[in-house]
Symmetry: C2
Subunit: 361 residues, 2 copies
């Protein structure tokens, strides 16, 4: 047995595997750590598991519970009587490898140097994130999951999982995500990374964890702007400014959100995770997509949001058509909302209905 | 006589007025300099003048001519037999006050310090830019112009001119512009300014003119991305990457364009001009728009581009409805194109037709 699991005071589980982890593009870490949260009860047959793959900005805290009463990022999606009903399903959400909420990442201590890995952390891919989570489930004795549910970057991880381990999944829900990053996605995220690195306080990744990184703040403002649809923001802030010229405006809105975010997030993690997103391509860059994608033997629901300018509906349509052509049983929903990419966080009732109908099928 | 005009070797005219210039928000410069280019011949009655107001990034060099054979930014728009026909019109394009192509701006030498003004240049407004140009035309003995034509920021200047000096203009063409900046415009441009200031090489504006400013480069990449429609860029670069993975991609495209731009543009000018755009509001922030806008007694053509995500069609519609409600004779054209905000630079034939039909009316 190379792993240990301990429950922490905030209710999360801390998995450590001393066998380490080998990354797809080379490099390894001597110990793999993953922090995860569970909701509901595992059935005796271990056949009621739903894995939620979280997005770039969030973590394993999907909803509040007795040991951590702060609101989760998908608070009403999971729980008794909720769309992902914990009276029926055992829900697991694992902090992504490379992130900074208890799983191995650039802020983890490198046992060889006793310093944070920072930019010495191995190059990360979406496939690595899915692979590490799969290894954890194997160690939990779970060989097949009922469903993978992933919004945004989480949707990439769900697809990668189902593609790498095709006999391990019944249902897959990919929300506001894609099968590969588009040039405009890459441009926006690479600009964010360049802004972080422009800041002299970043110090080639060797900043003190308490340093306020002005570049990271700026990068996140840009990211946040891309998460919402400009029409909605324009309407909201034109309306506000008509009533009150001085106080709330779009600049203070972006600054407030970005400040909140960077006070909890590691800038190097942000560099690694966004780069992994940029490089994601389920077709592995091959021209013969059908053969590649046919491996993904999972019934798939693809949810698209009409106002999403970051993960544009074209990207979900591409995924849907590619899967269908490869003979995969895929369904497509275009959801109408004003909230852009962030809709999955805002309109949980509608999203929940789609998910619940599909995975109960 | 407080002014002099000299023609320079590249054919541009250099206007210097020792009466100086007072800015709307306070502050003055002791000498006002404006560089301009003319095409065609002024009629004896001085009644055939078309003033073109250039956008943020460009200058008075609208098209090539004998003394400067480099291609202009609107090469085929102006000339004999062109949409703005120099056999009929006398065309003047003046480098904007605050810019860096021969007109007074932050890079100009402050006579009191013998150093560049840098951030000691007075706060600039769109009204100032229009006002300075109007003064020049007065000095040229031109009291009324046949038409003002302004794309993008130039459209703001045209509107400001016609509003400040309502009896001086017959026709106004505002292309991909607005009557006030929207919150999302302000957010994008303020991010660009923050990126420039984040760069330690910017040195509070006191950089050497030969310094390559990494922050300015980054800011301009972001700007350039906003000038095009992401769908067009995605389509183009997905196609290119399918054929040639290594060479041309969206990152090298943005880097190439931004590099070319910043090698000719002053970063402080960029800060001043974008801030002036952010603050532009033809309605002067008043609730009683009709009364304010009724002052603008000019027949106006508003051209909108469906794929423009920076100056969104909503902004031209707002202008059109506001003018119409204020009793101004306004026309509206929504042009269909894939090229986003940059369409006015790309589809000159179509734009030229709209302009030429309207001002010949």
């Amino acid at each position: 047995m190379t792993f240990t699991i301990t429950q922490q005071r905030n209710g999360t589980y801390y998995y450590r595997n001393s066998a380490g982890f080998h990354f797809k593009h080379g490099g390894r870490i001597d110990e793999l750590a993953l922090t995860y949260t569970t909701y509901g009860n595992l059935s005796a047959a271990k056949d009621n598991v739903v894995v939620i793959h979280h997005a770039l900005s969030t973590n394993s805290h999907v909803r509040s519970h007795a040991k951590n009463t702060t609101r989760g990022w998908w608070e009403n999606m999971v729980g008794p009587g909720c769309p992902i009903d914990t009276q029926r399903y055992y829900v697991i959400c694992i902090n992504n490898l490379g992130s900074c909420f208890g799983s191995s990442g650039p802020a983890s201590i490198n046992p060889n140097t006793q310093q944070a890995y920072a930019c010495d952390f191995p190059q990360l891919s979406i496939d690595d994130i899915a692979h590490a989570q799969y290894l954890l489930l194997q160690d939990l004795g779970i060989t097949r999951v009922h469903a993978l549910v992933g919004p945004s970057m989480g949707g990439m991880i769900s697809l990668s999982w189902a593609w790498q381990f095709p006999h391990s999944v019944n249902y897959l829900v990919s929300i506001s995500s894609c099968m590969r990053s588009f040039p405009s996605n890459i441009a926006l995220r690479s600009l964010q990374r360049e802004i972080i690195r422009l800041d002299p306080a970043w110090q080639q990744g060797h900043y003190q964890s308490t340093t306020k990184l002005a570049g990271f703040l700026l990068a996140r403002k840009l990211a946040h702007l891309s998460y919402r649809n400009c029409s909605e923001l324009d309407e909201k802030y034109l309306e506000l400014s008509a009533h009150d010229k001085q106080s709330r405006n779009i600049k203070t809105y972006l600054a407030h959100n970005a400040q909140k975010f960077i006070s909890n997030f590691d800038a190097n993690s942000y560099l690694y995770l966004t780069k992994a997103m940029d490089k994601f391509d389920l077709t592995q860059g091959e021209h013969n997509k059908n053969q590649i994608l046919a491996k993904l033997q999972t019934k798939t629901l693809i949810i698209s949001v009409n106002s999403d300018t970051l993960f544009h509906p074209r990207q979900q349509q591409e995924l849907y058509h590619a899967l269908t052509q490869a003979g995969i049983d895929a369904q497509f929903i275009e959801h109408t909302s004003a909230y852009g990419h962030d809709t999955f966080l805002v309109e949980t009732d509608a999203m929940g209905q789609y998910i619940s109908d599909f995975i109960a099928d």
